[in-house]
């Protein structure tokens, strides 16, 4: 029982992290059709800025968390301004490849300017402790991950439903041209979307740093690949889909971890992806996706 509960918490925590990152991808994709491969590097920028701040003498974990989230949002907005604005009206493939290029550039810049080797960051390690509830020992990080992700998603939902800018973002996902006719500035909508997406990535970066205690150039890349998969299962561009897909991915991974014997543990990733591809055979548009009429929007 204890073991089952522990694994359930594991699955929820993994799922929450994937959901956060996947939501960030989906917010941007739903508005401007950009498949943001550079999302992982936003996480990277956030983690490296904490590393640099710690190296320069920052000791307060609270400031580090703020810094991580703020830098991630800033990085996302800067990426948009520098790299993605020129390809805003281009076909999806062009945007995807641009983002891929940005991702390569930033990863290699970390390598070039800091170091190709992982660097240790211990400032956020305090978040990762064992808490004891009677007979249960749980990792504080996992609990926090779950709670913070839940609150973040709640805040996002409130923002998207209650504020004007949030409404504009949701409307822009449907029909950007009309939103602009209503007198809303396109640049503002897109910059906000990127800032949200970056902040979500920054929160994920905090958890990654607390868990790993180190930064490396490809730190966000693997996670973002998984988040993409989560988006695809959920239905690309659908926000609830991204959250559900992330959770599902967390459960599949932990389920495999429990089910697979030790000597096959290395095949976990392969099997996870294989299961997902198999899901897509039955639902090519994802679990919560809709068939999009091709006349409205170029895919």
């Amino acid at each position: 029982m204890d073991y089952a509960l522990q694994q359930l918490l594991n699955a929820l925590a993994f799922g929450a992290e994937y959901s956060l990152v996947a939501l960030g991808l989906a917010v941007v994709f739903s508005i401007m059709g950009l498949v943001n491969f550079a999302h992982g590097e936003i996480i990277g920028v956030s983690a490296y800025s904490v590393f640099l701040a710690a190296a320069l003498g920052l000791t307060s974990p609270f400031v580090a968390v703020l810094l991580a989230v703020g830098m991630a949002a800033l990085a996302a907005v800067v990426f948009e301004r520098v790299a993605f604005r020129p390809v805003r009206y281009a076909p999806t493939t062009t945007g995807l490849l641009t983002a891929f290029g940005v991702s390569i550039v930033v990863q290699n810049l970390f390598m070039l300017l800091i170091s190709p080797k992982p660097q240790s960051v211990s400032i956020l390690n305090g978040l990762n402790q064992m808490w004891f509830f009677g007979p249960f020992a749980v990792s504080s990080l996992q609990v926090m991950e779950l709670i913070v992700s839940g609150l973040t998603i709640l805040a996002l939902v409130l923002f998207l439903n209650r504020s004007t800018l949030g409404l504009a973002i949701r409307a822009a996902a449907r029909d950007f041209a009309t939103v602009r006719l209503m007198g809303i500035k396109a640049n503002r909508v897109i910059a906000t979307a990127f800032a949200i997406s970056g902040a979500l990535a920054g929160i994920a970066a905090v958890f990654i740093l607390a868990r790993r205690g180190s930064v490396s150039p490809d730190l966000g890349f693997g996670l973002v690949l998984k988040a993409f998969v989560a988006c695809v299962i959920g239905g690309f561009g659908s926000l609830p889909g991204a959250a559900v897909g992330g959770m599902l991915l967390g459960f599949i991974e932990v389920g495999l971890l429990v089910a697979l014997p030790q000597e096959y543990a290395g095949f976990r990733d392969a099997l996870t992806y294989a299961i997902i591809v198999a899901l897509l055979v039955y639902r090519p548009e994802g679990l919560l996706g809709q068939r999009i009429e091709l006349g409205d929007k170029e895919i």
Partner: protein
Amino acid sequence: MTALPVLAIGLLVLNFAPTYYTFLALGAFVNLIVVVGLQVFMGNSNIANLGHSAFVGLGAYGVAILSTPLAMKKLSIPHAPFGFATLELDPVSSALIALLVIGIVALVSGKVISRLSGVAATIVSLALLIIVHSVFINWTNLFKGNQAFFGIPKVVGLPWMLVFAVLAIVAARLFKDSRWGLQLRASAQSPQAAAALGIDAKKLRLMSWVLSALICGLAGVLYAYFAGTISPKLFYFQMIFNTLAMLILGGMATVTGAVTGVIVLSIGLEFIRSIESGVTVAGIQMPQLLGLSGVALGVVIVLCMAFRPSGISGRHELDELLSLLLRRSAK
């Protein structure tokens, strides 16, 4: 016609260049075949494919497992399942079997990919790469895991490489200008109009996916046969970055573009690599700049996408351009 410059460079290197350059040229030709293979799918269907190096890896490991001499196998994979440990085939039949396996893998994965819309297909191609890579790393009895797999017979030299590169270019060009290629490009531009004309886009995407996989697989086979040693990380993201940048820079709409991109970036990258390892400029020893080539590749992709999305060569093949020019000057 598109293959002519390649042939010329190949012959030049064959006859005049020192061994070091021959080795570089062999690597560049492998990249060339991969990029041409990539063009067959990406250029015609306009769906980004980020998983092609899985097929290159499958080709290389396929022949490695089948054709490595028994004495070497005792050292490297003594516990291989299915009797592979005691099997040694000649290089040609190994290559054919490897390509057959690739064909089957491509057919199965293509069934999924051809059903999906653009973005989802790209993500699934990535998933395929990760699945294949993780099998290479973890199935140590058969693939030797993270370590290098050595002792593959080195049977391919520059002349054969040249022949196959030209063949790949010709195949890609023939496919592009065939009925199917034309229909596929039409359906990529306007799915509804193409469907209204009775074009089965899924079938065509599957077809180009398999052909693309086979060409990439061939590149892997050739790579294994010239290098003699392979390891899984060769066929992972680094290869994707390199070949994708080459295709984009050259222009993915045409086979000429693929060829141009490979030539330009191969030379450029070699130059950057020499800076990367630390050079002496005016008596000052520069530090090692790891990651510089990566930055350059990424910048090439981003700038290209922003300012010239159609790449260097644009929409026309080399021979089409030449005939256009000739006609214009005749008037």
